[in-house]
Amino acid sequence: MTREYLVATFEEPGALVDAVTRIRAHGFKIYDVYTPCPVHGLDEAMGLRRSRLGYVTFAAGAAGLVAALAFQFYCAVFDWTLNVGGKPDNSTLAFIPITFELTILAAGLATAKAFLARSGLLPGVTAKLAAPGVTDDTFAIALRWRATVFDTGEARRVLRESGATQITQTEMDL
């Protein structure tokens, strides 16, 4: 959906973190920040919540563990018992290595999938760049412009004072 944004670009990550801190202190809500690499201290400055991906990992790992153990138990004890060197049908300890591998496999694949899905990184998605060069060497802050609650002059002033190289107000689909 096309909306109106105020986009400020920066050349230095330090200035970017500074600007994010100041613009939030002035009561503006940040739509998003665009950077070519992770920036030290930006998570705190933006006030991002801790990612909940770990819960997905744990749930998928637990599911993988139970499924792997149950499947081996079903095959070796119920469905078709095989006497291998007189070992018990339910050789639980010998089932552990495969259980471990499948736990890791389920947890890893689920984590990657959950990350991609939650971030909207899906096949066929076309990227919308906030400013040219945000995947190369430019850092950008995007504020969503709303006529009723937005003092454009004030926002521009704070951004410029923080060292923004360019500030533009454009309609785009971010």
Partner: protein, 457 residues
Amino acid sequence: MSSPARVLDVDPRHAVAPRRWITERLALSEITDDVARPLNTWPSLGWFGAFAVAFTALGIGAACVTYEIATGIGTWGLNRTVGWAFDITNFVFWIGIGHAGTLISAILLLFRQQWRTSINRSAEAMTIFAVMCAAMFPLIHMGRPWLAYFVVPYPNSRGPLWVNFRSPLLWDVFAINTYLTISLVFWYVGMIPDFATLRDRAHGIRKRIYAALCLGWNGSYRTWARYETASLILAGLATPLVLSVHSIVSMDFAVSILPGWHTTIFPPYFVAGAVYSGFGMVLTLLILTRSLMHLERYITIRHLDAMAKVTLLTGSIVGFSYATEIFTAWFNGSIYEKAMFYNRATGPYAWAFWTMVSCNALAPQVLWSRRVRTSPAALFVLSILVNLGMWLERFVIIVTSLHRSYLPSSWVMYRPTFIEVGTLLGSFGLFFTCFLLFIRLLPMIAMWEIKAGASHD
């Protein structure tokens, strides 16, 4: 000099300056240019030469494997006593090579080692290619590889007769496949931001390929924050995984009753050996590529120094394991164990045993010297010795244990045939062909990680 009041202003997290691994100060766009350059320019003569050699080796290997599959396992030098030899040696060797990649990308990430950022991408690629080479050997050893799907537990019309979940050989199937899958995921997820960078500077068909590969990455910091969490979780999963893979490979041997195999030290000993051989291969590859691709600014002498230290540590663990094995053979009182070690050190394969000891236990000790650790030429020679020594280690463990065990009437010698040597050559061909294509088609240095390090300063 700063006054005391000034000192208090300093954020304690930054009080100690982090060590700089890349000595030059680089602009962020310069990093993009440097890493993306090989992807846009015509390859050098050196690259073409290396590719021709690798591709020829691959061709020889393909011909040998085709002949072997068409004719049968009888084309190899295996016999009733020595049922595992070159094939399984190559399998364990290649799996081991892969381990350094995961160590660099996952374990060093958890330890927050900055130096990994220049080499992690190529080390991960090396892991994937090495696991591909490794997986080929059990497959062709089956003799009838078109029935390879029998190792998968699926509801079949034979009962269903399930696979034997108690067998380490089946554990291997799951370990190797999980390792390959998770390594691929880790590698691909790590490249997504770089694909976006390349997309934004490419044109035409290349732009469309990179755009498809980057899944719509736009540098959003909300995504970056999640991305870092995902990377840490994947690293946390890959770390126990890599330790489990070579432990399980070692159990292929350790759970048998054969003297020389039946020993509890195998899992840690194999893991240390794997990392040692893997770092040998990383050194071989990176010393070549840094000069071939002119990446000396990114893969510096300091990186080589750090890798040499890991090689020294793991090589010493391997040497210590040899000593432990010999001590145990003497101390446990089993005449078979003792006879096996006596045969290893003085029997017909003694040349392999002593070459192995020289390459793995003695040669890395020169790395105590800083001059050796910072000399690419010396490290290159040493890395070749490490590769040779570690390949021989697996040969010694497998063949010398099998060829003379409990029954003297079954004692035989094993000699590889031309087909086996050709297959080994072919696996090297496959590995280097893949690696040479990788450095031309994909960003071989993680641009975003280098940028994160550079923008910290």
